[in-house]
């Protein structure tokens, strides 16, 4: 089956490098190093001083995703980005200011950013995206969900091209994600017409499991039916909740190979994993040419499934297929 909606650009800004191919994770990440993002080097000398970090990361990833692609007319371009704590550090600072000195002491330049959609709309402003700007905040799954919302919006004609992805900034707590990922999605025929390279395609299924006594069998079965993927290697980002354990159990029944990674605070880690697959950066889980897993297919999978299961009950599964050969 030839996917009608394809990915034609991927960009990242991350503490582990900005090349999406280098962002494949098969082990828990180290702590985020300080000072990893150079604003002047990444964005330029002027105009970015008063942007909060998550907004800067998003702009940098967006520019990389769109680099080399033909420009899209503003009315045809939409934006759908996930985040959970882009504004959290800023919120804490602002609230501290209000408690200590009062609202008059707040920075007028930063005041609009109390609304987290302003972070995402800054990306829309940079690329004059006028079809829509949507800020998804579904706990943990919003990054993968953005790919789904982008695809559906394209199918329903809300835009010609959509920028999807996720952005997060440190919020002072251990393990909070920092960085951004941006994907360019568009119909395949448009990509071919305008000479945009097809990197691959994605399909996403989302669901909810109650936190008490969850059984993930049905939602995993529904996901695999919706993704139409067959056996594939799975990376599951799960926390230590009953929901995480239930999805882990149910995925074992359908995964060709399963890697379970801890679910960090935020929405961007799973999006980086998707970016790595599209950029051809998946490290071989088994030796090339070896027969692997139940399916007996040889290594060099074109399709990987990236999954999230969280204590918020939110679950998401994204099948990522690289274009052409492995």
């Amino acid at each position: 089956m030839t996917a009608r909606i394809v990915v034609t650009g991927v960009g990242a800004a991350s503490p582990w490098g900005d090349d999406p191919a280098g962002l494949w994770a098969d082990a828990p990440r180290d702590a985020v190093p300080d000072g990893w993002f150079d604003v002047r080097g990444q964005l330029g000398a002027r105009g970015y001083k008063y942007l909060p970090p998550a907004c800067r990361y998003l702009l940098a990833a967006g520019r990389r995703a769109l680099a080399g692609l033909p420009a899209v007319p503003g009315p045809d371009l939409g934006v759908a980005i996930g985040t959970n704590h882009a504004a959290s550090a800023l919120h804490a600072d602002m609230d501290d200011t209000v408690l200590r000195g009062g609202a008059d002491q707040l920075s007028p330049a930063l005041a609009p950013f109390f609304a987290v959609n302003v972070f995402v709309s800054r990306l829309a402003i940079e690329h004059t995206a006028r079809a829509f700007s949507l800020t998804l905040t579904t706990p943990w799954t919003a990054g993968l969900e953005s790919l789904h919302v982008a695809s559906r919006s394209l199918r329903l004609g809300r835009a010609e091209v959509v920028l999807a992805g996720a952005t997060e900034a440190g919020d002072g707590s251990a393990g909070a994600e920092e960085g951004a990922a941006v994907f360019v999605l568009e119909p395949r025929d448009l990509a071919e017409r305008r000479g945009a390279p097809v990197l691959g395609h994605v399909a996403t299924h989302t669901g909810f499991l109650p936190p008490t006594g969850p059984d993930a069998t049905a939602v995993v079965r529904a996901a695999w039916a919706a993704l139409d993927t067959g056996p594939a290697p799975v990376t599951l980002f799960a926390d230590d909740s009953a929901v995480g354990a239930a999805v882990d159990r149910a995925v074992r029944g359908v995964a060709d190979e399963l890697t379970v990674l801890p679910l960090a605070a935020g929405t961007v880690g799973p999006a980086w994993q998707v970016a790595a697959v599209l950029a051809g950066g998946v490290r071989a889980a088994v030796p090339a040419g070896a027969r692997s897993g139940r399916s007996g297919v040889t290594e060099g999978h074109r399709t990987h499934v990236i999954a999230v299961a969280s204590r918020a009950g939110t679950v998401a599964f994204t099948a990522v297929t690289r274009e052409g050969g492995s």
């Binding site: 503003g74 939409g78 959970n84 704590h85 919120h91 804490a92 602002m94 609230d95 209000v98 408690l99 000195g101 009062g102 609202a103 008059d104 005041a111 609009p112 109390f114 609304a115 987290v116 959609n117 302003v118 995402v120 709309s121 800054r122 829309a124 402003i125 004059t128 995206a129 006028r130 079809a131 829509f132 700007s133 949507l134 800020t135 998804l136 905040t137 579904t138 706990p139 919302v149 559906r152 919006s153 199918r155 329903l156 919020d171 707590s173 909070a176 989302t206 669901g207 909810f208 499991l209 109650p210 936190p211 049905a218 939602v219 529904a222 909740s241 605070a265 204590r311 918020a312 009950g313």
Partner: protein
């Protein structure tokens, strides 16, 4: 493509609890904001259209071992009412609706950020571990115990309008049969303080389109709707308030907070909704405008409506004059009100203006009037230039 019908409503606001209560209160005298009791609210104008204490739900206080705040509680109260109204729980029990085909979509600006604010000001003990303020939709989804999609967006003052747009898109795309959708917003010190810092707060009350307006005044509310695929609603014999014929989206891509002064993108959102809903401007019998009382926004919206309708006077129902600006819940409340206008075939009386702003050429009838037509438009605009227009149409009985 499946049509999307509203089969249930649930509302809680400063006017009290219940969609019927809302409708009655809109016909009574004007309502005003109250001073917040928060000792940390170091702002000159600590006014909010608060939910009356007697109507504030007290449960739940935790969910899945995480603290939850009043936004979740307001959403749960409104969701229960909407589910009861539409008879969804019984429909699931009888097998008329499959639980995995029920989605929950929510719009909120601050979510349960009030929990953090109370922890920071020492009112509540700090909770351990990392918590997100966006658990509201999960708490609501747990009422149903289903396995369908759950999604939250935070498109600020247009958030629940986008949630409703996403709900209609999901039904059209065949991804869900029933969507419990809406918005919830509770008092947030941070939001009030930043509105104040941006000079966007009125010292008296929310008075959209009034010459003396000086900004908006925020409000607390949750509004939830059951939106259902027409085939499912018909099969189970559900009663219908209205059809959501289309939602039009656009983005100014202009400025973080100020609207694009020409109104081109809010015009685009309205026209997209009309085109997609196969409705002409001449068919629109009432508009529930965004109308926040903010100086420039009311002028830009008035001009866009004038451009769309020409010289034809179209009655507006200026909802925020009664309930304040309920941010993430505002569009949900506007769409619920629009559905009631279509269902009762009546436009409630507007709160009279002290002095109309001549730059806002809008018609705000102060007497209740019969609805002269079958289509109503509801607008919602947000910081970031995130615009949405929701087109509702009557459904023949």
């Amino acid at each position: 493509m499946e049509r999307a019908l509203i089969t249930g409503l649930g509302v809680i606001s400063c006017l009290g609890r219940g969609a019927d209560t809302l409708w009655e209160a809109l016909h009574a005298g004007p309502h005003g904001p109250r001073r917040v009791a928060d000792p940390g609210a170091n702002v000159d104008i600590p006014l909010v259209y608060l939910v009356p204490d007697a109507d504030l739900p007290t449960e739940p206080t935790t969910w899945a071992d995480a603290p939850v705040g009043p936004a979740s509680r307001l959403a749960v109260a409104a969701a229960r009412e909407a589910l009861d109204d539409a008879g969804i729980v019984g429909a699931v029990r009888r097998g008329d609706v499959r639980p995995e085909r029920v989605a929950v979509l929510l719009g909120t600006t601050m979510g349960d950020h009030q929990v953090r604010e109370r922890e920071r000001s020492g009112e509540w003990a700090p909770s351990a571990g990392w918590h997100t303020e966006y658990l509201v939709a999960s708490v609501v989804a747990d009422l149903l115990g289903g396995q369908g999609p759950v999604s939250t967006n935070s498109n600020a003052c247009a958030a629940s309008g986008y949630a409703i747009g996403l709900a209609v898109d999901m039904i059209r795309a065949g991804e869900a049969d029933v969507v419990l959708v809406g918005g919830a917003e509770a008092y947030s010190r941070l939001a009030v303080a930043n509105f104040h810092r941006m000079g966007a707060t009125d010292p008296e009350r929310c008075r959209p389109f009034d010459q003396g307006r000086k900004g908006t005044v925020s409000g607390e509310a949750a509004a939830m709707l059951v939106v259902e695929a027409a085939s499912v609603a018909r099969r189970r014999g559900a009663s219908v308030y209205a059809e959501i014929a289309a939602t039009g989206w656009s983005c100014d891509a202009h400025h973080p907070t100020a609207p694009e002064p020409g109104g081109a993108q809010i015009d685009a959102a309205m026209r997209r909704a009309l085109r997609d809903g196969a409705t002409s401007p001449a068919e629109i019998a009432c508009v529930v405008p965004h109308g926040t009382g903010t100086e420039l926004n009311d002028v830009v919206e008035s001009e866009a409506l004038r451009t769309l309708f020409g010289d034809r006077p179209v009655p507006l129902y200026s909802l925020k004059a009664q309930v304040g600006h309920t941010a993430g819940a505002a569009a949900g409340l506007a769409v619920a009100t629009a559905a009631l206008i279509l269902f009762t075939r009546a436009v409630p009386p507007n709160v009279p203006l002290d002095a109309p702003d001549e730059r806002c050429p809008v018609w705000l009838p102060v007497e209740a009037r019969p609805l002269a037509g079958r289509a109503v438009l509801a607008n919602a605009y947000a910081f970031g230039g995130n615009n949405v227009s929701v087109l509702l149409r009557s459904v023949p009985a």
